[in-house]
Amino acid sequence: MVDNQSPEIFGQTPSQTVGPYFHYGLPWKGCADLVGVSEMGARTDLFPAENYKLNVSTAREAVIGDVIEIFGLVTDGAGTPVPDCLIEIWQADAAGIYNTTGDPRWAKSNHDGFPGYGRCATSAEGFYRFRTIMPGRVPSPDGGLQAAHIAISVFGRGMLKRLATRMYFDGGEGNDQDIVLNAVPAERRDTIIARRDEGDSWRMDIVLRGDNETAFFDI
């Protein structure tokens, strides 16, 4: 029988579900806080303290930009909140530069303490919540700038592979011209545009399946 080491089936390792028990393995304390020091994002209520082997949030350089909260309710095809999802985000800093040497502009830019990457395990009520900054606009392949956006991955029990989408911001400059947002059928664009809630808090619910299903991408 062929296996992982067999050249005749060499290719991409298939995706499998993250399952329901990832909480002691993936979301460290503070993983949903891209600005300061906190325990946001972790679910330490789900396993004994002596089994906490993950990292703890530590102080980092000050982050430049407008601090925002993004949050939303994750629901399934029956409209039931999903308390065991893992949400991940990847976004540019306030200047529109990604915190990676893979961004060709990174080497010549000034870096603050912004990591650009975060995770959040959904709460018992099915909410995700991040503290981050409003991302700057990133270059677009068409020569202009993309509208401000945050890339999102959704993992969960019952989900055989990551679902990818984005968050845009209601009223965001360039939303009308954004090549990715425009690739989404007009009637579904609202599903990936966050609305201002209170103050600097933005809400975008994630609907895994159903009439108002979130627009998920084949990236």
Binding site: N4, F10, Q12, T13, V18, Y21, N55, P141, M159
Partner: protein, 240 residues
């Protein structure tokens, strides 16, 4: 002008989101087709550099995290992280979590009555070297029942999470063991069509096995590769 190279899409071994035999996909898989979106800088970049400050450093031995040795068969798992063109993925992080030797997770929602092991948590993390190689030590996880259907048992497996070089290459998967009869009847493993399901089955290896210490298993992780031609980020082009 900056040239960026996109990533290939999923290959024939990718499972569907919706799979008849895996019950909980029925309410959690999208009902509409995924939307093919243009590749931009967002998809070809990822947290390749700052992860250590976020997640912490390597925890490559899951058998030494508590006062004593855990129960069970000690194993050594090693291999490489590559892309589908055979290029190694150096300095990439692989997170690991698993059940104990009896098949029990430390998670409070795991209500099966197999015993916990006070000497085993089941969480680890490794970072690949310049050749994409990794190695960790753990115990072989037990099989456990689940509620998917009557008399359903998961094959022994280790959960794996990899960042890879970009947002596009993010992967969460599971590693299985070669001598496990449950793989053949597991709806999660079999959501992947044959023969590609077998990409997730590790191989016992006597060279990786260490005398008087533990059994060795080989497991390579293959991430999505780069597209053949670069696109230019200041040049209008149809990426569909």
């Amino acid at each position: 002008m900056t040239r960026l190279v996109g990533f290939k899409h999923e290959d024939a071994g990718a499972p569907p989101s919706y799979s008849e035999g895996y019950q909980s996909t029925r309410l959690r898989a999208p009902s509409k087709p995924l939307i093919r979106t243009p590749t931009t800088l967002t998809e070809v970049t990822g947290p390749t550099d700052g992860w250590e400050g976020l997640m912490g450093g390597a925890m490559a031995d899951l058998t030494t995290q508590h006062a004593g040795m855990p129960q069970g068969q000690r194993i050594i798992v090693s291999g490489r992280v590559l892309d589908e063109d055979g290029r190694p993925a150096p300095n990439t992080v692989m997170e690991i979590w698993q059940a104990n030797a009896a098949g029990r997770y430390i998670h409070i929602d795991d209500s099966w009555d197999a015993p916990h092991d006070p000497n085993f948590t089941g969480a680890g993390r490794v970072i690949t070297d310049a050749q994409g190689r990794y190695r960790y030590v753990t115990i072989r996880p037990g099989c456990y029942p689940w509620g998917n259907h009557y008399n359903a048992w998961r094959p022994g497996h280790i959960h794996l999470s990899l960042m890879g070089p970009s947002f596009a290459s993010r992967l969460v998967t599971q590693m299985y063991f070669p001598d496990d009869p449950l793989i053949e009847i597991d709806p999660i493993a079999n959501a992947v069509p044959m023969p590609y399901r077998q990409r997730m089955v590790s191989r016992f290896d006597i060279e990786t096995t260490e005398p008087n210490y533990g059994l060795g298993y080989l497991f390579d992780v293959v991430l999505r590769g780069r597209e053949a031609t670069p696109f230019e980020d200041d040049h209008d082009k149809d990426h569909h």
